[in-house]
Symmetry: C2
C-alpha cells in the first residue's frame, strides 16, 4: 500500500511564484488571506488527507460500495472519514459566505482539492460533484431554492449529484429523454440516468440530485433540456428531510477502478414521478449544466494531477528502496540509480509539477474573473485553459500512472502493491465529464475558431514575453530551456495558423486535428509554466538563505521537461499539419 | 464480450509481400510448404481460436485459476480447450521432426501463435512457455534428456515452464540463489521462485520445470548459474510420470490481468530437495536461458500485436454500432463517422498492421538463419529485431488497448464490456521477459555498441533502398509516405551517429538514451514495412481482378502511419540528443 504526503512546498512555490497569491487575494478584497494562511490551511488538509483519507484508499478499492435493500452502502470507513471532513469545514472553503461558505479564493480551493484526490480519489468524487451542484445552484437557482438547499450542501450536511447521462445519451446530450411533467408547485420527473457518481450512499441525511429532463412542450435537441432539483428525501415544513422521493439506485456498475465511488444507475419516477423543482428558466438546462461541467472539468483535470502525484510518490519510494544490480564495488544499488528508471521518475516528477502549475494558474483566472465581472479577458483565459486542463492533464496522468507500474516491474502487476490501483483509477479521467475528444473539440471550436483565435493568440503572446525574459536572463542553466521552449512556441504558432486558415475550408480538418492540437497546447503550457518557475528559481539561487538544492531542482526539472516533453509539440504539429485526408479516406467497410 | 476473427488476409499479405514465404520455404528445403498450405493452416487455427479459445477469454478473467489442496486448478473450460489444442497437433507445428515435430517454418509458427494470443492470451501463455522450454532443451540438452522429455513436450502431452525469478532477483539474475546439490545421477534443488507462469495446473499428466540454480562451488554472479530440468512428477522406468517430486506451488499472485494464467510462487525442496537434471554444462545456465528468453521475447512482442488486434476488432465493432450525434438530415450517426474516433481507429489499425509486419519479418530471419548456420547476417538481424519486437510492440500495445477503452467511452470503464480486460491484460507485456528498459539496453548495448553499429547500419541501409524504390515509383499516393519516411530515416541515422559517437565517452548517455532509441527504431521499422506494403499494394492496383478497396486501404493505412506515428521519430531523436544531463542531475534527496 502506498502512503501519501502532500508536497506543500511545491504548491506554495506555485502559489507564490506563478499565481502571485498575495496580490490576488488583495485584489479580491480578502485582506486577511495570504500565503501564510494558505500554508496553514494546506497543512491541515494535508494531515487529514495523509492520516484519514489515504489509508482508506486501497480498502475502498478492494471492498467497493455495494447495493443493499436499504440503498447503496459506501465502503467501510468512508462515512466516518466524511464526518471528519465535514466537521473540519472543508466543504465550505470556497463557497458563498451568504450561505455559510468561507469565500476563500478558488485557486486555494483547487490547491486543497488536489490533496483529497491524491489521498483518495474515489472518496473525493463525492464532495467534488457536490461542489458542482453548489456552483450551479448559486449561479442559477431562485432565492427560495438557494435558501432551502445551499446551506446544507455547503456545510456538507447533504451531498449533491449530477444526473446527465442516459443509456443513449452519453456525449450527445441532445438525446436526453427523461421527462418532467408540471404538477402543482413542482414537476414529476421520470426516466433512467446512468453513470451517476455517488448517486446514493448512507453518509448524509439527504442527497440533492440535479437532473436534466424535458418538459412536455420542450423543443427537440439541446434547446429543450431543463434542470431540476430532485432531493432523495423531500423536505418537510421545517426544511428537514422527510418522505422518500420517487428516486432510487437500481444497480451499481462493476468498474475497472474507483471502486470506492459508487457509480449508480438511477431510476426516477417508478412510482409515478419523482418530485422535482425547476432551476432557473425552462429549457436552459444545458447552459446551467455547463456551469457545473466547467467546474467539474477543471476538477477532473486536477484529479489527473492528484493521481499522478500519488503515483510519483509511490514510484519514488520504491525506486529508492528496491535493490537490483550491483555497483562497481560490489554493493547492491537501488534502482533509482539506473538511468532508465531515473528517466521515468523525471517524466513523472516534471509532468506532475507542470500539471500543478497549470491547474493553479488556470483556476487563478477564475478568481481574476470574479474580481471584476467585466474582466472578459480572465474569463476567456479560464475558458481556454479548461479543455487543456481536463484533456491534457488526464491524458498525461495515464502515462504517469503507467510509469509507476513500470518502475515497480513485476510487483507493479500484483494488486497488493497498489500501483495497479492508481493505474486503474486514472483510466476514467479521460472519459468522464467529457472525453478527451470532446475537450479537444471544445478547445479548437468554441475556444479558438469561434473567436478567430483571439484568445489563443493572447496566450501565445504572453508566452512570447516569458520567452524573452528567459532569453534576457542570459543564464547558461536556462538557455537549454529557452531553446526548446522557443522551438515549441514557434511550432504552436504554426499549428494555430494552420487551424485558423485551413479549418474553415477543409472538411474534418478541425475534427481530425483537434486532439493533437489539444495535446500540443498542453505540453506547451506545461513547458511555459515550468520555464517561468525555472526563471524565478534561478533568480533566487544567490539569495541569502536560499534553499539551493530545492531551487536547483526546479531548474533541472524544467530543463528535463523541455528536453523530454516539449519535443512532442513538434510531433503533434506534424499530425495537425497532416490534415484529414488519411484519417477520413477509408470507407467503413475498409476497416 | 468481444468476439474475435483472425485477419487471415492481412497475415497472408505480409507472408506473401514482405516475407516472400514461398521462396523462404523452398530455401528451407520444404518443397511442399507454400502460401496455400499456410492459408489452410491459418484457417484451421483461426477456427479453433475464434470458436474455442476466444469464448473462454472473459470467463478466464472473471474466474481465474485458483490454488486448491490438490494444486492449481485452471479456469473452467481451459482443460478441455487445451485437449482440443493438443489433439489438433498445434504444439508440434515448428518443433524438430526428430522428436515428433512438424518442422514448419518459424515464421508460420509465429503467424499461428498470433491467433492463440488474440483469442485468449492467458491460455496461450501455457504453450508459449512450453515452446521456450522445447527450444532450450533442443539446443542444449543431452540426447538422453531430449529423448526422455522432448516428445511429450512437443506433443503437448506435458507442458514446460521457465523458473528464473526470485524475490530478490528480478531483472538482476546475478542474484539468483536457488541451490543445486549433486546427489547420485541427479541434483537436489531447493529455493523459491516467483512469477512462474502456469507453474502448476491439472491440464496435463506432467509439468517440466526448467530451473536456474547454483552449484555449491559455482562462481558468484551470472557465471555461476546452471540450468536444470525438474519434473513435477518423476519419470518411472517406462518414462511415465510416477512419484511426485519435491516441488509445489505455494501461492498464486492476485494480478491486474491475465487472471486465467496462474502466476505461481514455486517452492523447490521443502522436503529435502527436488530431483533435478543438469541441462548441458554446469554454470552455463544463463546462456541457455537466453535461448528460451529470446524466443519468449519474440513471443511477448507478438502478444503485443495479438492483444492490439483483439482490441482493434472490438473498437471497430463498437464504433460501427454505437450511435451518438446526428447527421445534418437528423438521422443518428455511428461514432465511426466522428473524425476523432476515426483517428483513434486508424491509430489502432495502422499500428497493429505495422506490428504484424515486423513480427513476421523478424521471425523470418530466424528461418533464414536456420537455412545456413554460417549466415551470420540473418542471425544478427534477428537479434537486432528482438528487443524492438519485444520493447516497441508491447509499449504500443499499451496505447492501442487504451484507445479501445477510450472509444468505448463510459462503457469502456465497465468490466462487462471486456475492453478493460484487454487493457489490463496488456499491461504485463512491457514487464515480463525483460522490461522495456532491459530491451532498450539490449538494443543499444549488445546489439549496437558492441558491434560498432554494424548491424544497425545494415538495417538502415536496407531501409534507404526501400526509400529509393518508393521515390522512384513516382506515385502521388506514395509520395506523402516517402516524404515522412525519408525524414524519419534521416533522423534515425542522426540518432545512430549520436549514440555511436557520444555513448563511449559520456557517462549514462546510452542508459538515458536507450528507451527513446528503441521507440524511435520501432516506429521507423513499422513505417518502413508499411511503406513497403504500400509500394506492393500500389503496384497491384491496376492488375486484373485486383481487390482495389483492400489494396487502396493498405496505401491509406501506410500513409496514416507515416503521418501520425513517424513524427514521433523526430521527437524521440530530440530526447536522445538531449543526453543524460537533466536526467541524472538530481541527487536522490531532490526527488
Amino acid at each position: 500500500m502506498s502512503t501519501y504526503t502532500h508536497p506543500l512546498k511545491d504548491t506554495l512555490f506555485v502559489l507564490k511564484e506563478l499565481v502571485d497569491f498575495d496580490s490576488l487575494s488583495t485584489d479580491l478584497g480578502l485582506d486577511d488571506v495570504n500565503l501564510e494562511l494558505a500554508e496553514a490551511i494546506l497543512s491541515e488538509a494535508g494531515k487529514l488527507g495523509a492520516e484519514v483519507l489515504a489509508p482508506l484508499n486501497q480498502q475502498g478499492d478492494q471492498q467497493g460500495a455495494t447495493l443493499t435493500a436499504e440503498g447503496v452502502k459506501q465502503s467501510a470507513g468512508f462515512a466516518a472519514a466524511y464526518q471528519q471532513y465535514v466537521e473540519s469545514g472543508w466543504p465550505a472553503l470556497v463557497a458563498d459566505e451568504a450561505f455559510g461558505g468561507q469565500g476563500l479564493p478558488a485557486v486555494l480551493g483547487t490547491a486543497v482539492n488536489e490533496i483529497w484526490h491524491s489521498a483518495n480519489m474515489a472518496f473525493a468524487l463525492c464532495p467534488m460533484l457536490c461542489q458542482g451542484a453548489v456552483e450551479a445552484l448559486t449561479a442559477h437557482g431562485s432565492d427560495e431554492l438557494k435558501a432551502r438547499y445551499l446551506p446544507q450542501l455547503i456545510s456538507g450536511e447533504w451531498t449533491g449529484t449530477m444526473n446527465l447521462t442516459e443509456p443513449n445519451a452519453g456525449s450527445d446530450l441532445a438525446a436526453v429523454s427523461a421527462r418532467a411533467i408540471p404538477n402543482d408547485d413542482h414537476y414529476l420527473i421520470s426516466g433512467q440516468k446512468i453513470f451517476i457518481t455517488w448517486g446514493d450512499h448512507q453518509m448524509t441525511s439527504n442527497i440533492i440530485h440535479l437532473v436534466l429532463a424535458r418538459l412536455p412542450d420542450a423543443p427537440r435537441g439541446v434547446k429543450g433540456i431543463s434542470l431540476f432539483i430532485v432531493p432523495k428525501f423531500l423536505l418537510d415544513e421545517h426544511g428537514e428531510p422527510g418522505a422518500l422521493n420517487d428516486v432510487s439506485c437500481v444497480s451499481l456498475e462493476h468498474k475497472l477502478g474507483i471502486h470506492g465511488s459508487p457509480t449508480c444507475v438511477m431510476s426516477f419516477g417508478d412510482q409515478g414521478g419523482a418530485k422535482g423543482y425547476l432551476v432557473g428558466e425552462a429549457n436552459k438546462g444545458l447552459m446551467y449544466m455547463f456551469t457545473m461541467m466547467n467546474n467539474a472539468r477543471q476538477a477532473v483535470g486536477l484529479q489527473g494531477l492528484s493521481i499522478s502525484e500519488r503515483a510519483y510518490q509511490q514510484a519514488r519510494q520504491y525506486a529508492q528502496e528496491r535493490l537490483q544490480g550491483s555497483r562497481r564495488d560490489g554493493s547492491r544499488m537501488p534502482i533509482i540509480e539506473h538511468p532508465d528508471v531515473r528517466r521515468m521518475l523525471m517524466l513523472m516528477k516534471s509532468g506532475t509539477e507542470a500539471m500543478r502549475a497549470l491547474a493553479l494558474v488556470a483556476m487563478a483566472e477564475a478568481d481574476r474573473a470574479a474580481i471584476d465581472s467585466e474582466d472578459q479577458q480572465a474569463l476567456a483565459r479560464l475558458e481556454l485553459f479548461t479543455p487543456i486542463v481536463k484533456g491534457w492533464m488526464t491524458e498525461l496522468a495515464q502515462e504517469i500512472t503507467s510509469l509507476n507500474v513500470q518502475i515497480h516491474g513485476g510487483m507493479g502487476y500484483i494488486e497488493e502493491t497498489g500501483a495497479a490501483q492508481h493505474f486503474r483509477d486514472a483510466r476514467i479521467l479521460t472519459i468522464y465529464e467529457g472525453t478527451s475528444g470532446i475537450q479537444a473539440l471544445d478547445l479548437i471550436g468554441r475556444k479558438t475558431l469561434v473567436n478567430g483565435g483571439e484568445h489563443l493568440r493572447g496566450l501565445l503572446a504572453e508566452m512570447a514575453q516569458s520567452l524573452t525574459a528567459l532569453q534576457q536572463a542570459q543564464d547558461t542553466e536556462l538557455s537549454p530551456i529557452a531553446e526548446r521552449f522557443s522551438d515549441a512556441l514557434a511550432q504552436a504558432q504554426q499549428a494555430a495558423d494552420a487551424i485558423l486558415t485551413r479549418a474553415p475550408d477543409e472538411p474534418h480538418f478541425a475534427g481530425t486535428a483537434s486532439f493533437n492540437f489539444m495535446m500540443l497546447m498542453g505540453y506547451l503550457c506545461g513547458g511555459w509554466l515550468l520555464a517561468r518557475s525555472a526563471l524565478k528559481a534561478s533568480a533566487q539561487l544567490n539569495h541569502v538563505g536560499a534553499d539551493k538544492a530545492y531551487l536547483q531542482g526546479k531548474v533541472t526539472t524544467a530543463r528535463f521537461f523541455a528536453e523530454h516533453y516539449l519535443p512532442r509539440v513538434g510531433s503533434h504539429l506534424q499530425m495537425v499539419l497532416a490534415g484529414s485526408q488519411s484519417t477520413m479516406a477509408l470507407a467503413v467497410e475498409q476497416f
